[in-house]
Amino acid sequence: MDVLALYDAHKNMVFRLALSFLKSVPDAEDATQQVFLRLIEYRGRIVPGKERPWLAAVTANLCRDMLRAASRRRTEPLTEDLVFDTPPEHEIFQSVMELSAGERAAVYLYYYEGYSTAEAAQILGLSQTAVTSRLDRARQHLRGKLEEVRYG
């Protein structure tokens, strides 16, 4: 198992998922590094071909720990540095960032990564019902905003 090759293949997935949870670029970078260090430690226990969902699950667990971690102070979202090609893309991203941490992660895994609700549930350590419920809530929250972006 070539760790660096896996890093190149999956680093942005891990970073985006971490950002979905943490809403902070520096924290998401920290999480990304931490996740791949865990890959080094546990790579012998990962079923070949299952590295991507394993990394996603570890990212989700780590981010939850970080959100709950000792000594963590309130932080404001740190995603302003991200640059997008078009204003609608920026607005869409910011709208997603306004969701709760759990909803953001579910949206990212389901809509961007293309995981089913069952797979997302396994990654997030939730029931399929909980994931479906989060997606429903996210759709409701964003329906108006995204329509606005869509039609100007």
Binding site: K11, N12, S71, G102, L126, R134, K145
Partner: protein
């Protein structure tokens, strides 16, 4: 809209500087496996963590445990229950083994997969230690043609417990309809250890709160038509006699109606079946609790040991080694570099215990994370002393009164903003 959503996230990538920094850290870690790794030291977002130390002593200690002989025992009223939760007939042991980390390369590096060892249960000792606290339930419900039967349970005063139950279906188990038309199985079995992650689950009735559990399949006793299962659980808020625990199964059934909606992410129209949530559960009361023994370290921290598990106060991250040494000198290696003899471990935060930090917002989706606003629990704030704790559920019966000492070592990394750093606690607890 779908393209814009995708393209927006396509543009969210690691910066070049972060990429280079992480790559350098990984290369350093690969070059120095087993040694100290210093993670990214940039700015205030500092996190440190250590890799596990490689130790062969844990394997030797584990071998000593395996060598313990078991005397003849009398078959008691709870023999089958004790065999399921403590014994070695239902869940297979796996020896530690080395495997090539990277089979595609000639120098891919060998790594060790930790051993998991179940041992025989001393039935007389089990009856003596926990027999009086076993609650026989024997209640059933049926869902989708599957009969669920809660059999027996036992719990200790730390909130650690075990429940045995069966799921039977003479004609074979149906695949159950999931939400949005997806098919889901009732049982998703981890092939390594027979751990099942999915429904059914346990819930504390009074506060409508799920209890953390890992459900194991007794492969020896199970057949295609009947599954024998053991749920090891831990309630962070504790358990007391008279608490009502529920074994819950939830199913979503199509009610014959449909509705259409526009997906805001893709702009596509979808037709979705309306599903009714159907829940069945068995309720049972917690009986007398199995007592635990408190051991104390020189620094005043405590370890609470029961026949079923251990709770370490003030411990909130990785455990490298944890072992129990008995009065006769024998050792139970609970967790080590090459051994993991637990059913599961659980970190409990102040949040789990209802504490409020400096800022607090409701956890509206029940995942233990306060949404939007982070909660602060300073390490050095006496108000939270002992609230960060780690619980490990044993995979065998332990006689607490016979434990001469508990040794635990590990690495605790914590995060920044005036508190950044790392701790390397190494504690020995004695009665």
């Amino acid at each position: 809209m779908g393209n814009e959503f995708k393209s927006a996230f396509d543009q969210v990538t690691l910066s070049r500087s972060a990429d280079e920094r992480i790559r350098a850290a990984l290369e350093a870690a690969l070059a120095k496996e087993g040694k100290v790794i210093e993670l990214h030291a940039g700015g205030e977002h500092l996190m440190k963590r250590k890799t596990r130390k490689i130790s062969f002593t844990t394997l030797i200690a584990a071998a000593a445990v395996l060598a313990l002989s078991v005397t003849a025992y009398a078959i008691g009223a709870h023999a089958g229950f004790f065999e399921s939760i403590f014994g070695d007939s239902g869940v297979d042991s796996t020896e530690a083994y080395e495997t090539l980390a990277d089979p595609d390369k000639p120098d891919g590096g060998m790594i060790t997969v930790p051993a998991y060892e179940r041992v025989s249960v001393d039935q007389e000792k089990a009856e003596e230690l926990v027999g009086a606290q076993v609650t026989d339930i024997n209640k059933t419900f049926e869902m989708e043609g599957v009969t669920f039967t809660a059999e027996s349970m036992v719990a200790d005063e730390n909130g650690i417990g075990a429940l045995t139950f069966t799921m039977s279906c003479p004609d074979g188990f149906p695949r159950m309809e999931g939400y949005e038309g997806e098919m889901g199985n009732m049982l998703r079995i981890d092939e390594d250890r027979g751990w099942i992650s999915s429904t059914p689950y346990l819930r504390l009735s009074d506060i409508d709160r799920p209890i953390n559990d890992h459900v194991y399949l007794d492969s020896a006793a199970s057949t295609d038509a009947e599954k024998h299962l053991t749920a090891y659980f831990y309630s962070p808020v504790g358990l007391k006699k008279g608490d009502v625990v529920e074994l819950v199964m939830t199913e979503y059934l199509y009610n014959g109606k449909e509705h259409t909606y526009t997906d805001p992410f893709t702009g596509e129209e979808h037709t979705q079946k309306d599903m009714d949530e159907i829940e069945e559960h068995i309720s049972f009361q917690v009986g007398d609790l199995v007592p635990a023994v408190t051991l104390t370290a020189e620094d005043g921290h405590t370890a609470s040991v029961s026949p079923m598990g251990i709770v370490l106060d003030d411990w909130y991250d990785g455990i490298h080694d944890l072992s129990l040494t008995y009065a006769d000198g024998s050792v139970y290696t609970v967790r080590g570099q090459n051994v993991d003899n637990t059913q599961f471990g659980q970190l409990t935060s102040p949040n789990d215990l209802g504490a409020e930090g400096v800022e607090h917002e409701e956890d509206d989706d029940g995942d233990g994370v306060n949404e939007s606003i982070y909660t602060e629990y300073p390490l050095d704030d006496p108000a939270y002393e002992g609230m960060w704790r780690t619980t490990l559920v044993f995979n065998r019966l332990v006689e607490p009164e016979n434990v001469a000492s508990v040794h635990v070592s590990g690495g605790i990394g914590y995060i920044n903003r005036g508190h950044d750093g790392e701790l390397q606690p190494d504690r020995t607890f004695v009665p």
